[in-house]
């Protein structure tokens, strides 16, 4: 944008903020410097109209609330104005410690687009008179990373717009196309999910953002649905991948001085002549078996039989597969 264009746009904003009447394009052209043209010359007039359209688009892009209306019932042509209360950032009386927190928040984004949005938001707060201490720290700062699907899915959830996207689950060979009314996006334990009404399954579903392949496509009009009242987005994700109660107890005999990983979560540890006897809390016998097999001959399961059998079965299969390999070589 040339200096003249910037100047023209600043003057346009000031002019439309100062008027209570809607001003038509012709009235604006007669007032704001930079729009001078001959309305009777078709070519010249057309050039003005194009310029004015571009300028309006630029202002809307920036978030300037350009109102359209007519000054009176006798006017056929639409006019424009900017209502100050719609334009202006409301007063935000931030205490110094609050301002420091916002300053820190603005620099956490690792995603370029969101980082730019955060810092332009912060610039507006500064312009509103907020002073931000750039040295402030909270002692522990999260790095905020998001998947590419984050921006389009949050926008769709905000606008209540149906979307479709391709979704790859690792144990399926090909991605499938899913159609969703997104209710919201959730960060749970450092991973991002979208929760909503799955239009093909006819039920509530969560999708992991990292599994979305390619673009998220908005497919419907804004305001097309209403998420259930008081929906607790987190609970949908947490129920799906939440923590488990370790109520089982397994007893294993381990080689002294080894198997540090298991010792850390043992609830009992007794030294015996043939090794250390650990008691391990567990939830799922098969999952525990995997952990134990990892230690090879340094761990032997004493009890319960279901874990012991699961371990032996796994060891047999692993040995068989790798024996074949040794023979083949």
């Amino acid at each position: 944008m040339s200096r003249t264009r910037t100047e023209r746009l600043v003057n346009l904003v000031i002019c439309l903020l100062s008027t209570r009447r809607f001003l038509t394009a012709a009235q604006i052209a007669a007032t704001v410097p930079g729009y001078e043209h001959d309305p009777d010359d078709a070519k010249d007039h057309e050039a003005f109209q194009r310029k004015f359209e571009r300028d309006k688009a630029e202002l809307r892009e920036l978030g300037v609330p350009l109102e359209t209306g007519t000054a009176s019932v006798f006017d056929a042509e639409p006019g424009y104005r900017i209502a100050h209360r719609e334009y202006a950032l409301p007063d935000i009386p931030l205490e110094p410690d609050e301002a420091a927190a916002v300053g820190i928040a603005a620099r956490l984004w690792q995603h370029a687009g969101l980082a730019a949005a955060a810092s332009s938001g912060l610039a507006k707060l500064r312009a509103a008179g907020v002073d931000v201490d750039p040295q402030a720290t909270l002692g522990l700062e999260p790095m905020v990373t998001v998947d590419p699907a984050f921006a389009p899915l949050t926008a769709a959830a905000r606008d209540r717009r149906e979307v479709s996207f391709d979704y790859r689950v690792p144990d399926r060979d090909e991605p499938t196309t899913r159609r969703l009314q997104p209710w919201g996006v959730v960060c749970w334990r450092g991973r991002w999910y979208v929760v909503g009404h799955d239009l093909d399954r006819g039920a509530t579903r969560c999708f992991r953002l990292s599994r979305v392949v390619g673009a998220v496509r908005p497919t419907g009009a804004p305001g097309a649905y209403r998420p259930p009242a008081d929906v607790d987005l987190i609970s949908h994700v947490a129920r799906w991948s939440g923590p488990v109660e370790r109520t089982g107890r397994a007893t294993v005999l381990v080689t002294p001085g080894r198997v540090a990983g298991l010792r850390r979560w043992a609830v009992e540890n007794a030294s015996r002549p043939d090794g250390d006897l650990l008691v391990l809390p567990y939830a799922d016998a098969d999952y525990l078996a995997g952990q134990l097999v990892g230690y090879g001959p340094d761990v032997r399961v004493v009890d319960p039989p279901e874990v012991r059998e699961a371990v032996i079965q796994r060891l047999k299969e692993i040995a068989a597969r790798h024996d074949e390999l040794a023979v083949a070589r």
């Binding site: 944008m1 910037t6 002019c15 410097p33 920036l62 978030g63 100050h84 334009y87 202006a88 950032l89 007063d91 935000i92 009386p93 931030l94 410690d97 609050e98 927190a101 916002v102 928040a105 687009g113 969101l114 980082a115 949005a117 938001g121 912060l122 610039a123 507006k124 312009a127 509103a128 909270l138 002692g139 522990l140 999260p142 790095m143 905020v144 389009p152 144990d171 997104p182 919201g184 959730v186 334990r189 450092g190 599994r211 987190i234 850390r264 952990q291 097999v293 990892g294 230690y295 032997r300 399961v301 012991r308 060891l315 692993i318 040995a319 597969r321 790798h322 024996d323 390999l325 040794a326």
Partner: protein
């Protein structure tokens, strides 16, 4: 952010218009501010700021006479806006700006053991209220963690002293004691870490808070050597380097999840349902425990050394179960 990135040129010009509309209220709130200070605050050069002021000087209300134009008084290197022509407030936050600030604040407020959480929550409430309708950012954050442990470590790090920690290293399955000079604490991917100079490794290391089993604050101050700089973690905590051993596995359908959890260098279709995946590992001992733990649907393709270790370990473990005398179950029962 929800639009494709505009061309650099148009971005710069939109940025300038946004900056100019901010500049008047910014200066209005700080009468007599030094131009250098304002430039630093706004992230532009002094020269750029002076050009911006010159441009604003010729803008104003229709009529564009001396009393209509934006006016300012200069006093040496200081500037005061004396007439704002109606742009006395910055523009409202856009939906993207509100989202970026609100989500980042929610993220901080949810971080276990963060300092001054109460101020973060107050700031969040005020930003949400200023953003109005946009505040209902459809984003929720939950970062469960051991708040007490993080708080204890944060206090230790802020104390500025060296720490002796008992640390579990999963790569070698060992617990060691080491003295560290902390640099900072951070949260990546839902996990808390202490980044520190490790005197044992003589390098900057990340220590996962949930693997620090004990902490003792030492009398000596934390003095990391000058070369100890925080690492760039924007690509994640584990950045596989090409000098680490590369392992190649054939995996069944049920084990494909590992491609989501570990950075894989190659993922190819094998025969049938099988995939062939290659990944870098810090330690072959870790790889052995990893492969054995994955289960029967995984076969080591390379290196041969790893395949042999897996076979030998599985065979040795089976042999122990097969020997009645050495059967711990029998021993346990007969005691």
């Amino acid at each position: 952010m929800s639009r494709p990135t505009p061309r650099a040129g148009s971005r710069t010009s939109a940025d300038r218009l946004a900056r100019l509309l901010n500049l008047v209220p910014y200066l209005l709130a700080r009468p007599g501010i030094e131009i250098a200070e304002a430039a630093g605050d706004l992230g532009v050069s002094e020269r750029q700021l002076r050009e911006d002021l010159e441009l604003l000087w010729v803008c104003g209300l229709p009529g564009y006479g001396p009393g209509d134009l934006i006016d300012m008084a200069f006093d040496g290197d200081r500037v005061t806006i004396t007439y704002d022509a109606g742009i006395d407030r910055p523009l409202r936050l856009t939906p993207d700006e509100a989202l970026a600030l609100v989500v980042a604040l929610r993220m901080i407020a949810e971080t276990p053991g963060v300092a001054n959480r109460e101020a973060v929550e107050r700031a969040l409430a005020k930003i949400e209220s200023a953003a109005g309708d946009l505040a209902g950012a459809p984003v929720e954050v939950r970062l469960p963690g051991d708040t007490a442990r993080v708080r204890e470590l944060r206090a230790a790090v802020e104390g500025g002293r060296a720490l002796r920690i008992t640390y579990y290293t999963a790569a070698r399955d060992e617990t060691t004691e080491r003295v560290i000079d902390p640099l900072r604490m951070l949260m990546v991917g839902g996990r808390a870490y202490v980044e520190a100079w490790c005197r044992r490794a003589e390098a900057v290391r990340l220590f996962r808070v949930d693997r620090i089993d004990a902490v003792a604050v030492l009398d000596e101050p934390a003095v990391a050597p000058p070369q100890a700089r925080p690492q760039d973690l924007s690509d994640g905590v584990f950045r596989p380097s090409p000098d680490l051993p590369l392992i190649t596995l054939r995996i069944g359908r049920g084990e494909r999840w590992i491609t989501e959890y570990y950075p894989c260098e190659r993922v190819e279709r094998g025969t049938g349902d099988e995939w062939v995946v290659s990944l870098r590992v810090t330690d072959l001992g870790w790889a052995r425990r990893f492969v054995l733990g994955l289960g029967p649907d995984v076969t080591v393709v390379a290196p041969a050394e790893l395949a042999e270790q897996v076979r030998a370990q599985a065979t040795a473990a089976l042999a122990a179960y097969a020997t009645p005398a050495g059967d711990p179950a029998v021993a346990a029962v007969t005691q």
